[in-house]
Amino acid sequence: MLEIRNLHASVEGKPILKGLSLNVRPGEIHAIMGPNGAGKSTLAAVLAGKEGYEVTEGEVLFEGQDLLSLGPEERSHAGVFLAFQYPVEIPGVSMVQFLRAALNAHRAAKGEDPIDTAQLMSLLREKAALLKLDPAFLTRSVNEGFSGGERKRAEIFQMAVLNPRLAILDETDSGLDIDALRIVAEAVMSLHRPDNAFLVITHYHRILQYLTPNFVHILADGRIVRTGGPELALALEEKGYEPFLSQVV
């Protein structure tokens, strides 16, 4: 589904990703862990198509298509979704307006008619319930006045509505209390299917207790330096990064 080959990327001329390679197949969950500044969020931004990130070498194929040649909206239409670490506020635009525009853009890309209002509201209410969000939340402006936890839940709510093939969760667990973490993680797992995949960027083992990744990768200095199973995340929690990084030549 996703093939990242020898990816190099810079921000303002400073190299951040330095030869990152990764394969993600349908049905898999990959966790990316790593110390601060390793390039985790840069990887997420490059995959989603954020401006200001220059790919200097390598390629990214998504279902055989050159992902890097697509604009952010085209990547979304193709099935890529980024749950932001710091979602921005969009004043005056309600969640309903926002998701109607997003869904209709997806439908237009597939040559389908716009969604009707009753169908839209039914879908939004169903997905809001999944995240245990008050329906009144749908009338609020996007992320405006949301607590940190609400913002993260709103990201997964959007993921549930848009139903992507590949979801990149950029530190979705940060800022969540224990109960909110469980709600978010269970919602994410309920969305997991054999034909989609998740790339979970995190600092902590706790979310992986719910998500059970197939692979855990350690990202350091812009590339993956070690790959293992769920036990690697546990080992990181116990020992920290140092023992693993010192083995890297």
Binding site: G71, P72, E73, S76, H77, V88, I90, G92, V93, F98
Partner: protein, 398 residues
């Protein structure tokens, strides 16, 4: 096809020409207004507004180049003859002009203090007045459809005690015309008025709109300004809260584009205790457009327990846009709550990326951001049809 030849003049010569036209017309000035004018204090000529020798602070950012045109004196078209927007679910009543002499609104007309007020008051080609007799939705159209004409017009509205009304003012103006409109609204104790200022689609000409209102005890005014697009528009509002419990709320959403100026100058005076005001404005200036916002809160010594708020947020949508914001507080009472805030910034790339990452194309994402930002100022519009009309009338080219 009509061809109009415009002879360039200096600002001074253009102003002198306009001033002469207005002064020569003053023979029709009604007696009660003549008394108001005679009692007025203030500068006598438009020269007081000019840059250079005597730059007027209130006009510092507003070019007076509209005066270069050698205007002919013309008459505005009032109310029923002008086109109205379609408002589903609303049954509008056109306001019919009456003789101004008989209007109770004139009793509260504040004395003119600026050259423009003095000149329009003394030189208007139409004087009209009306009373809103009962609750309802009213429309008031003042249009200037003739090119090369300046139409100075004076209008007074009286809202009696207990009446709850909505008024939609429409000011269609030919792209080569100048409408000089002075409107005074008197709200008696307990009256409630929701007032909208809008225009038809398309770029209109030049409008100087001098608005004044007196709001008596427990009376309420909500004023929504979404006038669409004008080559040049300045709205000067003087809001006088004269009775305890009076409330004046002003909202606006504005979008000047290339070679367009949109200027709002507000002075809200709290002249009695327990009064409340709010100024909530959102603006987007596009390339080559200029937005000016001067908002003043004045609390007199008698205005104890005043609550007054002001917020103007503006986005410089692209390079070459201009925004000038100046909040002012003038407080002479010691037990009040007054806040003000202005912000001006560029469109945030983070917002655009966020929406695009959800599949929304760039142009639609920009439109969503712009509309959401502007509609913050208009979300309290009480009538659904007007909210829809406002949304379509924002003048967004996206």
């Amino acid at each position: 096809m009509n061809t109009v030849t415009v002879t360039p003049l200096s600002l001074e010569a253009g102003a002198a020409h306009l001033e002469k036209l207005l002064r020569e017309n003053n023979s029709s000035l009604p007696g009660t207004l003549r008394d108001k004018l005679a009692a007025a204090q203030g500068p006598d000529t438009l020269a007081a507004l000019f840059p250079g020798e005597s730059l007027h602070e209130e006009w510092k950012y507003t070019p007076l180049s509209i005066l270069r045109t050698p205007w002919q004196l013309g008459q505005a078209v009032l109310s029923e003859e002008a086109p109205l927007p379609s408002l589903p679910g609303v049954s509008p009543h056109p306001i019919r002009p009456e003789a101004v002499e008989s209007s109770p609104a004139l009793e509260s007309l504040p004395a003119p203090t600026t050259p423009w007020e003095r000149l329009i008051l003394s030189g208007a080609t139409r004087y009209a007045a009306a009373t809103l007799p009962k609750d309802g939705f009213y429309t008031l159209a003042v249009s200037q459809p003739t090119p090369q004409q300046a139409a100075p017009t004076f209008y007074a509205l009286h809202v009696p005690s207990g009446v709850q009304a909505e008024v939609l003012l429409n000011t269609p103006t030919h792209p080569e015309a100048l409408l000089l409109l002075q409107l005074h609204i008197a709200l008696e104790a307990g009256a409630r008025l929701t007032f909208y200022h809008a225009a038809p689609e398309g770029v209109q000409g030049s409008v100087l709109f001098l608005f004044s209102t007196t709001i008596q005890q427990e009376a309420h005014l909500s004023f929504y300004s979404f006038p669409g697009r004008y080559r040049w528009i300045r709205t000067e509002s003087r809001v006088l809260l004269t009775g305890p419990g009076a409330e004046g709320l002003l909202y606006g959403a504005h979008t000047p584009h290339e070679n367009e100026l949109c200027d709002t100058a507000i002075r809200i005076s709290h002249l009695a205790p327990h009064t409340h005001s709010n100024q909530l404005f959102r603006s987007i200036a596009f390339k080559g457009g200029r937005r000016v916002f001067l908002g003043r809160i004045h609390v007199a010594r008698e205005g104890q327990k005043t609550n007054a708020y002001q917020s103007h947020k503006a986005i410089l949508w692209e390079n070459g846009a201009e925004v000038y914001s100046r909040p002012q507080l003038e407080i002479f009472a010691d037990d009040v709550r007054c806040t003000h805030g202005v912000t001006t910034g560029f469109l945030q790339g983070e917002m655009l990326f966020y929406l695009r990452s959800r599949g929304i194309p760039d142009s639609a994402a920009r439109a969503l951001i712009a509309e959401g930002f502007l509609m913050e100022a208009l979300e309290s519009v009480p009538t659904e049809a007007l909210r829809t009309y406002a949304r379509h009338n924002l003048g967004l080219p996206l």
